[in-house]
């Protein structure tokens, strides 16, 4: 064999894998709409079609053409534009999300071993996104992903039952490293060597005031209409706190923001977003900040939205599957986001709020 790679064959295989791995119901069959920007040669590198991409990712890619590699992981490459927008180009097994640009990449992409390095240029030329000179993805036929909306009405008793089941899942399976330890009713098994019991205790201690402030505020604003009260400053102490690529505190706040927006608690979501984003720009890093911005707009990983839908359903047979999918996000990030989501759901139960039947007025 004289050549190094039957790129198209690899692409076909990956496409099959991608379709089966996606499993996302809520996709918009419209094309990305970049075709009018112009077309482009792929040069000498194989190009892989984008299958699905989030709306924020699409908006950023349409508005900016000059990017650079921010970080390289096994299944994905984070790219940052000149104006600070972030997208994540990756394998479909990542799952859909607002920043994700899921392409029919080989499962064994491993960008690091392909020589993709942070700082290398990324350029969009028409519908092609050239990641350095080693990877090109075609945006032309990518479908837009939007999160699955939860039911507009639900029974607080159903939500309470499902929340207990979620708490049980967290207690049984969540790793001890994250902020699940900060909740007495969610505390998991003995901290392992992965984080260290002393640090775990200190993290829970450090996060305690912020989480308590968030919980209290959520309950107060759901029982008071309209919202007069901004989240206390202590909430912002969660920003950038904890281990992981996206710090645990950011994940908790992200989960809460997504849940507030999804359950129709718009004013509360706006208030928390203002408090969070104003501090997050300087207190966490670019990738985590980009996820928080999406969460503030009500968008997160598809698995989180699916979990919310399952929580609101009378019979939630898929809750276990959804939690499993969330758990696959990072080491403890998914679990920490579930904590934020559970906080909001708990507040809704405590105040007897039942979705669209109960509105808050604008500030």
């Amino acid at each position: 064999m004289r050549s190094w790679g039957p790129g198209r064959n690899v692409c076909r295989v990956a496409r099959r894998e991608g379709v089966t791995a996606l499993g996302v119901a809520c996709v918009e069959p419209a094309s990305i709409g970049l075709a009018d920007v112009g077309s482009e040669p792929t040069g000498d590198k194989p190009s892989f079609p984008v299958l699905l991409l989030g709306c924020p990712a699409r908006r950023a890619l349409v508005s900016e053409s000059s990017w650079k590699i921010l970080a390289v992981f096994r299944r994905s490459v984070y790219c940052m534009s000149r104006r600070g927008a972030v997208v994540c180009v990756g394998h479909p097994s990542l799952g859909a999300g607002p920043l994700n640009v899921l392409a029919a990449l080989p499962r064994d992409l491993d960008g690091r071993n392909r020589g993709l390095l942070p700082g290398a240029p990324v350029r969009r030329n028409g519908t092609m996104l050239h990641v350095d000179v080693r990877l090109a993805v075609s945006l032309a036929k990518g479908r837009l992903w939007r999160p699955t909306p939860p039911p507009s009405h639900w029974d607080p008793a159903v939500l309470a039952g499902n929340l207990d089941a979620l708490a049980s899942e967290i207690r049984r399976h969540a790793p001890p490293a994250g902020l699940t330890q900060a909740f007495p009713n969610l505390r998991t098994r003995t901290p392992s060597a992965g984080f260290g019991s002393e640090l775990t205790g200190r993290l829970a201690h450090a996060a305690g005031p912020g989480i308590e402030a968030l919980r209290t505020w959520l309950e107060s604003v759901t029982s008071a209409e309209p919202i007069h009260e901004a989240p206390p400053a202590a909430v912002a102490s969660l920003i950038g706190l904890g281990p992981g690529l996206t710090p645990s505190g950011d994940d908790v706040l992200g989960g809460a923001l997504i849940a507030l927006r999804a359950l129709g608690w718009r004013d509360a979501a706006d208030a928390l977003a203002r408090r969070t984003l104003a501090r997050a720009r300087s207190r966490t890093h670019a990738i985590s900040y980009a996820h928080l911005v999406c969460a503030a707009a009500g968008e997160g990983a598809a698995a989180l939205h699916d979990t919310l839908v399952a929580l609101c359903s009378p019979a939630a047979p898929r809750l276990g599957d959804c939690v499993e999918a969330v758990a696959a996000i990072g080491h403890s990030s998914g679990w920490d986001a579930l904590v934020g989501l559970a906080l909001v759901a708990s507040a809704a139960i405590a105040t007897g709020w039942a979705g669209a039947s109960c509105r808050v007025t604008p500030q």
């Binding site: 064999m1 040069g43 102490s237 207190r283 080491h331």
Partner: protein, 517 residues
């Protein structure tokens, strides 16, 4: 309580990896606490509260990664920190190092090595033109290893190269030697005074190896790709290479190796050969001299090497079917003493396409019913030669010079065939080839022989080896393995083909052993 920290700037890492590394570090001797955190203000406060903040860790920004270890002793803390750093940084450094060695574009490669005057290209055929054209336009010669390049792309590339007086070697160029440096699949040969132009990789390897065996070496071996002398391409690179060798002061004599040129190209080629003021030998397998030119035309690869060596040494030379007819007589006699062959078909299994082609040309003049590159058809007593480097055998697997499995399977199959009496084989050594090609070959032959003998048949094996004493596999070691495995080894591919013919058709003996080629 010694606490040591290190900050890795702008270092994003997967959470799972971060936690695994923290866990590994915590299990090291003397380690009490280990943290791998992003350098956010909240995490600085957390580390400070835990007594794990250091002057170093406080320098971290949110996008930086902090490694912090608290241990019983300074040495244990330092050791654990070093281990964490190694675990985290090793992969990135490996990539960065490889990135430094493997530039991502041709232009960045040229910035690293601005004095480079040749670009070796191996990308899939459809992409080869763009890269090769870029190299030519930057004033560099091209060695184009890629196959499946459209012929029009080749024409365009070679016209550009011709215009710029640059060499475009290939596409599908497997071997070249330039100023003593081998490229692609090549045998290790000494630098010398004979220049070659070759439209065949294995042809060039065979001639270069034979020259080395005769005590000579190559000044240059310029590959041009198998289609260069076609009507479409017009022989542009062959003509340019011949001109270059004619002018090269290190080259005393020239050899041209190819398939028969298209008749439109032959006139230009003949004119170019006339202009070479040096001894010139032409081996266009299957073609004859177009006229009474200065160049000497020969019909076999080894003959090309023999003729050019004689020319530079001022010796007479004439072709002979066998270099040692007495030895051949003895060996044939010994084989006949074993009894008549139950089957008289030759199965030629070649890894070198040109060697297969050469054997076909020889055998079809000596025997009836010789089939080339057809696995089926022609049942009965016939002789079948296969080029196992052809596309149909290499789809999805390496070339048979690297991966012997296809040939092994066919040898085993031959043991079960009532039609095959002789296996005719080549063995190509050198850089890029299998590290010990004789071993799997001998094992397969012995297995096939056992199968044949169980069926009351005899199976002979005849081979030639393309290689030099300087090749990494060791020429003598490979020959010894073959000989010990009962394989008849002949000095050249042509002699091996004739030897096989003698086995299956004894009445050729007089004409072959006494005649002159």
């Amino acid at each position: 309580m010694p606490t040591k920290s290190e900050v890795l700037p702008s270092f994003y890492q997967d959470s799972v990896v971060l936690m695994q590394i923290a866990g590994q570090i915590r299990t090291r001797p003397g380690v009490r606490q280990a943290a791998v955190f992003m350098g956010t203000p909240a995490n600085h406060a957390l580390l400070g509260d835990a007594g794990l903040a250091t002057q170093e860790s406080l320098k971290a920004r949110p996008e930086d990664l902090i490694l912090t270890v608290d241990a019983e002793t300074d040495a244990e803390a330092a050791s654990a920190l070093a281990a964490a750093r190694e675990l985290l940084v090793a992969r990135r450094q490996a990539v960065e190092r490889s990135g430094a060695l493997r530039p991502r574009t041709l232009d960045s490669a040229l910035r690293m090595l601005p004095g480079a005057n040749l670009v070796a290209i191996s990308v899939p055929g459809p992409y080869a033109k763009a890269e090769a054209m870029r190299a030519l336009k930057r004033g560099r010669h091209v060695f184009l290893f890629s196959d499946n390049v459209p012929v029009q792309d080749e024409v365009d590339l070679k016209q550009e190269a011709w215009k710029r007086r640059l060499l475009c070697m290939g596409p599908d160029c497997g071997t070249a030697y330039l100023n003593g440096t081998g490229i692609g699949f090549y045998n290790v040969v000494p630098k010398g005074r004979i220049g070659c132009v070759a439209a065949s990789g294995t042809g060039l390897q065979a001639v270069a190896s034979r020259l080395a065996a005769l005590g000579e070496g190559l000044s240059h071996g310029i590959g041009v790709g198998g289609r260069d002398l076609s009507a479409e391409v017009g022989g542009t690179m062959t003509l340019l290479a011949l001109e270059a060798l004619a002018l090269d002061p290190a080259t005393d004599a020239v050899v041209l190796i190819s398939k028969p040129p298209h008749h439109d190209v032959m006139l230009r080629l003949d004119a170019a050969l006339q202009r070479i003021p040096k001894p010139t030998v032409v081996c266009c397998l299957g073609a004859t001299s177009p006229g009474q030119g200065r160049a000497r035309w020969v019909g076999e690869l080894d003959a090309a090497a023999d003729a050019v060596v004689a020319a530079v040494r001022g010796q007479d030379w004439s072709p002979r079917p066998f270099s040692d007819p007495d030895d051949v007589r003895r060996r044939i006699g010994r084989l006949r003493e074993l009894g008549p062959m139950a089957a008289s078909g030759i199965l030629g299994l070649f890894t070198g396409g040109t060697l297969a082609h050469e054997a076909h040309l020889i055998l079809k003049d000596l025997l009836k019913g010789v089939i080339f590159n057809r696995r089926s058809g022609g049942e009965g007593i016939c002789h079948r030669l296969l080029d196992l480097g052809a596309d149909e055998y290499t789809v999805g697997r390496p070339h048979p010079m690297i991966d012997p499995q296809v040939r092994i399977d066919l040898i085993r199959e031959a043991g079960r065939s009532p039609h095959v009496g002789v296996l005719l084989l080549d063995l190509v050594l050198g850089r890029g080839a299998h590290p010990n090609p004789a071993a799997p070959l001998v094992a397969a032959i012995q297995q096939a022989r056992q199968t044949a003998e169980a069926g009351g048949r005899r199976l002979a094996a005849v081979a030639s080896v393309v290689g030099t004493t300087l090749d990494p596999q060791g020429l003598s070691a490979q020959r010894t393995q073959l000989r010990d495995g009962g394989v008849e080894i002949l000095p050249t591919n042509g002699e091996a083909a004739r030897f096989a013919a003698l086995i299956v058709k004894p009445d050729l003996g007089l004409s072959l052993l006494e005649a002159r080629r």
